[in-house]
């Protein structure tokens, strides 16, 4: 620095520092994304890729067989998401509220214990729960028997009516730590003055949670909902490990992820069809994009923010 030159130097460092992220992100996210979109517009006819426009989408939504599988997967996916929204997030908020209570002892222990499943691999979670719920060697039937509730046990993962809900709840068990942590952080960031002021006005206990804390953590809940939405509509691993690529029984646990996998890579004697697979991937992308847009423009802009 000589301080003599007044001409402002080109700020190369910005570009240099941005470059790695931009390059890596472009190479492994943006290019493949456009590659997929492009692949969805082609079709292999006599071993040659031919541009067919939106033919693949016409097949996907027009052909009764394809569209039935697609809507079935979308329906299951929606239910998977609904279970998470109704069970995972309220429980996460409840746990966070309990954890942030100053009277709770061993809070750090609970926090860690509840968060640990989140860092486990899907494969471990899938197999562990499959064993727990196994009608042959699982602990679930034995435990229920011990308390005289054996009649409540069913081979949950093998019944069409229960399998998807069971898998959703397993996933809830695994990921409940994430909303808990985010809400916990949001609750901790609420300044004590506000709570004290509330107390002065006579708002304590449950009323304080509903009328003071909850409105203040709403933006965090919004973010969690979007994360849950994106995560659930991209779900694949748990269902694949627990039920296989055919997502049995009778496709009752088939989500868009497993449907895409079967189509794109093929399964057993079925050869992979990258073009139809890309069409499904594109449909998934559009669904997730719509969901996120609804949140961004419809909900987030209306959320009131409080400056402390």
């Amino acid at each position: 620095m000589n301080g003599e030159t007044h001409k402002r130097p080109t700020r190369w460092h910005i570009a240099v520092f941005l470059a790695p992220a931009v390059l890596v992100y472009t190479a492994i996210m943006i290019l493949p994304l456009f590659g997929t979109l492009q692949l969805a517009l082609f079709k292999e006819i006599d071993k040659e890729l031919v541009f067919v426009g939106i033919d693949n989408f016409k097949t996907l939504f027009g052909d009764p067989r394809w569209s039935e599988s697609f809507w079935n997967a979308l329906r299951n996916n929606t239910w998977f998401f609904v279970v998470h929204m109704l069970v995972q997030n309220p429980i996460g908020i409840l746990l966070a509220a309990l954890l942030s209570s100053p009277k709770l002892r061993m809070a750090a222990y609970y926090r860690t214990a509840i968060f640990i499943p989140t860092i486990l691999s899907f494969v471990i979670v899938g197999f562990a729960w499959k064993l727990i719920l196994s009608p042959l060697w699982g602990v679930a039937p034995t435990l229920l028997d011990a308390v005289g509730l054996k009649s409540l046990f069913a081979p949950y993962l093998g019944k069409e009516e229960y399998a998807l809900t069971t898998l959703s709840l397993i996933s809830v068990w695994q990921f409940v730590g994430i909303p808990m942590m985010l809400i916990y952080a949001a609750l901790l960031s609420i300044p004590d003055e506000i709570l004290e002021a509330a107390e002065c006005d006579g708002i304590t206990g449950m009323a304080q949670f509903w009328r003071i804390k909850l409105p203040l953590i709403l933006p965090s809940i919004g973010i969690i909902s979007v994360l849950t939405f994106v995560g659930n509509f991209n779900a694949f691993d748990l269902i694949y490990t627990a039920q296989g690529a055919l997502a049995g029984p009778n496709f009752s646990t088939d989500v868009l992820g497993t449907f895409l996998y079967r189509t794109f890579f093929g399964f057993q004697l079925q050869l992979g069809d990258p073009n139809m697979g890309s069409a499904i991937a594109t449909a998934m992308f559009v669904i997730i994009l719509c969901g996120v847009c609804i949140y961004l423009f419809g909900i987030q802009t209306r959320l009131r923010r409080y400056q402390f």
């Binding site: 067989r65 499959k130 719920l133 196994s134 009608p135 042959l136 060697w137 039937p141 069913a154 081979p155 949950y156 993962l157 093998g158 019944k159 069409e160 039920q243 296989g244 055919l246 049995g248 029984p249 009778n250 496709f251 399964f267 057993q268 004697l269 079925q270 050869l271 069809d273």
Partner: protein
């Protein structure tokens, strides 16, 4: 430049020498997905061949089963694949032949040692060209717990009625679960269920070919009847069979908790080490005593010649040997449960394997009905059959509905069925 010319000249002379079959060693490389069998090839099979054919060395270079098809395809495209290629059955190998990667082996002398059924998995659709030498097949049937049968005073069932009578008796007694199978993984229901008992109904090859030609439909009685039998299986399976997986069933049987196991012969070596009771096997029961029995003797593995191999002559010598009774005996004894497809009888030591293979003399052989041609389109008939068989056993779909659904699916893309 000079060295290169020299090298080319050298190469040229080597090729010439090879062609003239001088005392120049040729090394053949085998591509395979059977990495489990590496020791068997290196210690038993290859030494036997090299002893009989001095001047030809063989290397077995397997890759992981799940990667095999992809690895092989890229090697073939790059021209670096081995001289001999282990062939998957049906469409995967047919595609390699169509792309010119596999040589036509129809004129190989050893081909005479194989029946048409044995060769069908590695032929063009019209059967005019065969491109791989069949190595082994797996046979379906039922393995049973001999001790349990003796304890309950049961006879080995020969007809469907006897089969269900035996199941009833085991169920009544309550010591054993009558049959070990689950529907969680779906494929057992189709492979060890539908395609195991089915050939007795559709008369093996006759029905299978009629289905391919469009003369029979999946809604015909002979194709729906096996589903009707499967529908009755549900009540003889263990509690919660809906969530029982394939390894669960294997353990259930080898731990002695179940009396009968709908099986494929590939289970033999595993069961031999796991189970501490005596096992027997019986073929799928026929409807009436004295009926011709049909078994699923499914062609599973073969070996072909890389069309670009520079050592084609030596490779053909090797393939002739693979088609010989000597190889058949070596292979079948090293891997009980993988049966030689060779027409000449093979003496095997394993009693359970002997029992399985003895059905070839009594019964007519066929392969799984969905494997040839019929699983080329979408919806895929094999995958649909998994789903339908599991549904029928669980009672979620009636046999007639299952047949109707599969027929509609097949007819939607397969012309002869339209």
């Amino acid at each position: 430049m000079k060295t290169r010319t020299f090298a080319l000249a050298l190469l040229g002379t080597t090729v010439l020498a090879g062609n003239q079959a001088l005392a120049q060693d040729v090394t053949l490389t085998i591509e395979s997905w059977r990495n489990d069998d590496l020791a068997i090839w290196q210690e038993t099979i290859i030494p036997a061949f090299e002893a009989a054919n001095p001047g030809i060395k063989v290397q077995f270079t397997p890759s992981a089963p799940a990667e095999y098809n992809a690895v092989l395809n890229s090697k073939l495209d790059a021209g670096s694949a081995g001289d001999l290629i282990t062939c998957r059955p049906f469409d995967a190998s047919l595609a390699l032949y169509d792309d010119g990667h596999l040589a036509d082996l129809t004129d190989l002398g050893a081909m005479a040692n194989f029946s048409d059924v044995a060769k069908s998995a590695w032929q063009t659709d019209d059967g005019s060209a065969t491109f791989c030498v069949p190595m082994a097949s797996v046979i379906h049937g039922f393995i049973y717990n001999k001790d349990a049968f003796a304890e309950l005073g049961l006879e080995v069932p020969g007809t469907v009625d006897e089969f269900f009578a035996a199941l009833d008796k085991i169920k009544e007694d309550g010591t054993y679960i009558p049959m070990a199978m689950g529907t969680n993984d779906q494929w057992e229901a189709a492979t060890m269920g539908y395609n195991n008992i089915g050939p007795n109904y559709w008369a093996g090859e006759k029905g299978r070919l009629a289905l391919i030609n469009g003369e029979e439909k999946l809604t015909d009685e002979q194709w729906v009847a096996p589903y009707r039998q499967l529908a009755k299986w549900g009540e003889y399976l263990g509690d919660g069979f809906e969530a029982q997986s394939y390894p669960d069933s294997q353990n259930m049987f080898t731990l002695g908790r179940a009396a009968i196991y709908p099986a494929g012969s590939w289970e033999i070596s595993g069961f031999n080490t796991q189970a501490d009771f005596e096992m027997g096997a019986f073929a799928p029961p026929v409807q009436n005593a004295g009926d011709t029995c049909y078994i699923s003797d499914h062609t599973d593995i073969a070996i072909g010649l890389n069309a670009a191999s520079p050592n084609a002559d030596a490779a053909r010598t090797f393939l002739e040997w693979v088609g010989s009774p000597e190889f058949a005996s070596l292979y079948a004894n090293a891997l009980p449960g993988f049966f030689s497809l060779n027409s000449s009888p093979v003496a095997m030591e394993d009693p359970l394997a002997q029992e399985f293979v003895s059905w070839r003399d009594k019964c007519e052989s066929t392969i799984r009905s969905t494997y040839q041609i019929l699983s080329r389109g979408t919806p895929n008939l094999e995958n649909e059959t998994w789903n339908a068989s599991a549904n029928v056993i669980r009672g979620a779909e009636t046999p007639e509905d299952a047949g109707k659904r599969l027929q509609e699916g097949l007819a939607s893309w397969y012309e002869p069925q339209q």
